[in-house]
C-alpha cells in the first residue's frame, strides 16, 4: 500500500497558540445547523 506524502502532509495544519486564542474568539462566527437553516430560510 502506497502513502502519498504530499497528500498526507496537507492534513497537518498549524495549531492554535495561546496568544492567538483571543483573536480567534473574536473572528470566529460560531454557527450550528440551526443558524445555517435560518440563513437559508432568510435567503429564500
Amino acid at each position: 500500500m502506497a502513502l502519498d506524502f504530499k497528500l498526507e502532509l496537507k492534513k497537518y495544519q498549524p495549531i492554535l497558540e495561546l496568544e492567538d486564542v483571543e483573536s480567534s474568539l473574536k473572528n470566529d462566527d460560531i454557527q450550528d445547523i440551526i443558524d445555517l437553516l435560518e440563513q437559508l430560510t432568510k435567503k429564500d
Binding site: M1, L9, I15, L16, E17, L25, D32, I33, I34, D44
Partner: protein, 477 residues
C-alpha cells in the same frame, strides 16, 4: 408549550413566534447533538481520543450551545496537547453559560498551572515551526523541531504522527512513534493508516528480533512505551488487528448515520422550505385580497357618507329658509300690529328690515301694501319732526329726523326734495359747504318740482359765495 430555544410561551408547534426557529428541526438537532456527545463520552473513556474529538466537533455543529460537548472537547484537546483549542472551547462554553459550568473550573485549573501551560504552548510553537520547514522541503529541520516538541510534550499526538510520516517518507523506521500514538489513542486513524503501511516492515522486524522471556518478578508498565519488549509489542499488534474490525464497524456506523441524516433531515428541510414558500405565497395573496376588499369597502363608505352629508346640507338649508320665513312673517305681523296701533314709524322700521324674498308669495302683496302705507306715513312723520327741530335750531336732531324721513321716502315723492334741501341747510350751518352744495345741486337736478326750489337756488349761491370767501381767506392767511 415553551419554545426549546428562547423558552417563550408558544401556541405554535411548528415555528416559534418569538425567535422564529423551526421547533421540530431544532429538537431533532438537539437529539443528534446529544447522541454524538454520548458516543464521544464512551470513546473518550476508552482512550479513543481523536475519534471522540471528531464526534464532539459534530455534536457542537448540531447544537453550538451543548456545553457538555464543548467542555469535554476542551478536555480532550488539552489531553492531546492542543491547549489553545482547549482554552477556546472552555471560554466559549463559559460565555454561553456562566452558572455551574465545569469550564470555569477547567479555566481556573489551567491558569493555576501556568508553567505547564507554557510548556505545552512552547511545544505547539515548535511544532508550527516544524510544519513550516517541512512544507518548505526541509525535512531535517522539521525532524529536529518535532523531536523538540515531543520532548516538551511526550503526549503530543500530532507531532508524533507527523514525525512518523517524515520517517516513512525517509524510509526509516517509524514504528516507535506509531506505537507511541496508538498507546495514547488506540484508534487514532492516522497512526493506524501508517501502521498498516508499516506492517510488512514491522513483521519483518519482528521476525528478525529475538524475543526475550520475561523474568518472574518483572512487571510491565503498560503505558510506558519506551520500556516495552518486542513481545509486548507483538501482543499490541494482535490487539490492533482485532480493533481494526472495530474501526471498520465505526466507519460503517458513521456512514449509516450520515445516510440517515441525509435521508431523514434534508428532504424534510427541503419539504419544509417548499411548504414555507407556498404558505407565504398564499398568505401574500390573501393579504392582497383583504387589502383590496378593504379599499373597496372604504370607498363605498366614503361615497355613502358624502351622499348623507349632501342630504343633511340640503335639509339644513331648507330648515334655515323655513326659519327665516318664520322670522319674516313674525316681523310682518309685528309691523301690522304697530300700524294698526298708529305707530307708523315703528311699523316702517320693521318693514325696512324685512326681506321680501323670504316671504311666501301669497303674503307679498300684503307686505307691499303695508310698506307703501307705513313708509308714506313715516316719511311725513319724520319730515315734520325734522322741521320742528330745524326751527328750534336743534340741528342734530333735525338731521337724524330728515335722514330717517329720506330713508322711508321713495323716488318721486313730493317731500323728498324738501328733505334734501333741509339736509343741505344743516350742512351749511355746520360749515360743511361741499356737502351743502352737493345736496342743493341734487334738489335742483332731481327735484325741480320741490316747493323749496327757490330757496335752494338762493342757498346754493350763498354757500358758493361763502365757500369762495373762505378759500380766499385761507389763501390770504
Amino acid at each position: 408549550m415553551n419554545c426549546p430555544n428562547c423558552r417563550e410561551r408558544n401556541e405554535e408547534i411548528k415555528v416559534c413566534k418569538n425567535c422564529g426557529i423551526n421547533i421540530p428541526i431544532f429538537l431533532r438537532s438537539l437529539k443528534i447533538s446529544a447522541r454524538f456527545y454520548n458516543r464521544a463520552l464512551i470513546k473518550s473513556r476508552s482512550f479513543e481520543f481523536y475519534e471522540a474529538i471528531t464526534l464532539l466537533e459534530n455534536s457542537i455543529k448540531f447544537d453550538k450551545k451543548n456545553i457538555n460537548a464543548r467542555n469535554l472537547l476542551g478536555l480532550l484537546y488539552f489531553e492531546v496537547g492542543l491547549v489553545g483549542d482547549a482554552l477556546k472551547q472552555w471560554i466559549l462554553s463559559q460565555k454561553m453559560n456562566k452558572k455551574d459550568n465545569l469550564a470555569t473550573f477547567y479555566l481556573e485549573k489551567a491558569q493555576s498551572e501556568a508553567s505547564y501551560l507554557q510548556v505545552q504552548d512552547n511545544a505547539i510553537k515548535v511544532y508550527n515551526k516544524a510544519i513550516f520547514h517541512i512544507q518548505d522541503g526541509d525535512l531535517i529541520a522539521g525532524i529536529e523541531y518535532l523531536h523538540e516538541a515531543i520532548n516538551l510534550n511526550p503526549k503530543f499526538i500530532e507531532a508524533l504522527n507527523l514525525l512518523s510520516l517524515i520517517y516513512i517518507q525517509k524510509k526509516e523506521n517509524a514504528s516507535e512513534y506509531i506505537g507511541k500514538v496508538l498507546s495514547l489513542d488506540k484508534t487514532n486513524k492516522t497512526a493506524l493508516l501508517y501502521e498498516k503501511y508499516m506492517r510488512p516492515h514491522i513483521r519483518k522486524e519482528l521476525n528478525n528480533r529475538q524475543v526475550p522471556k520475561p523474568k518472574p518478578h518483572q512487571t510491565i508498565e503498560k503505558n510506558n512505551v519506551s520500556k516495552l519488549p518486542a513481545q509486548q509489542f507483538s501482543k499490541q499488534t494482535s490487539r490492533r488487528i482485532i480493533s481494526f474490525t472495530h474501526i471498520i464497524s465505526f466507519l460503517i456506523g458513521g456512514a449509516a448515520v450520515s445516510a440517515m441524516f441525509y435521508l431523514m433531515i434534508i428532504p424534510g428541510l427541503l419539504e419544509d422550505r417548499d411548504l414555507t414558500l407556498e404558505s407565504l405565497n398564499l398568505r401574500y395573496i390573501q393579504m392582497q385580497q383583504a387589502a383590496n376588499d378593504d379599499i373597496i369597502a372604504k370607498s363605498q363608505t366614503i361615497e355613502e357618507l358624502t351622499i348623507l352629508t349632501e342630504n343633511l346640507q340640503q335639509s339644513l338649508d331648507v330648515q334655515r329658509a323655513h326659519i327665516e320665513i318664520q322670522e319674516n312673517l313674525t316681523t310682518l305681523q309685528n309691523a301690522v300690529d304697530y300700524n294698526a296701533a298708529g305707530n307708523h314709524n315703528a311699523a316702517a322700521e320693521l318693514l325696512f328690515s324685512l326681506d321680501f324674498d323670504r316671504l311666501p308669495s301669497h303674503m307679498l302683496q300684503t307686505a307691499e301694501n303695508l310698506r307703501s302705507t307705513t313708509f308714506a306715513f313715516a316719511t311725513m312723520s319724520f319730515y315734520n319732526s325734522g322741521l320742528n327741530y330745524f326751527e328750534s335750531s336743534r340741528y342734530n336732531e333735525a338731521r337724524n329726523a330728515f335722514e330717517q324721513s329720506l330713508q322711508f321716502s321713495v323716488d318721486g315723492q313730493v317731500h323728498r326734495g324738501n328733505i334734501i334741501y333741509f339736509l343741505g341747510r344743516i350742512f351749511e350751518i355746520f360749515g360743511q359747504y361741499e356737502q351743502a352744495i352737493q345736496s342743493f345741486e341734487l334738489v335742483l337736478r332731481e327735484h325741480p318740482n320741490s316747493s323749496m326750489i327757490n330757496e335752494t337756488h338762493i342757498a346754493l349761491q350763498r354757500v358758493t359765495s361763502e365757500m369762495a370767501n373762505s378759500l380766499l381767506d385761507s389763501l390770504v392767511g
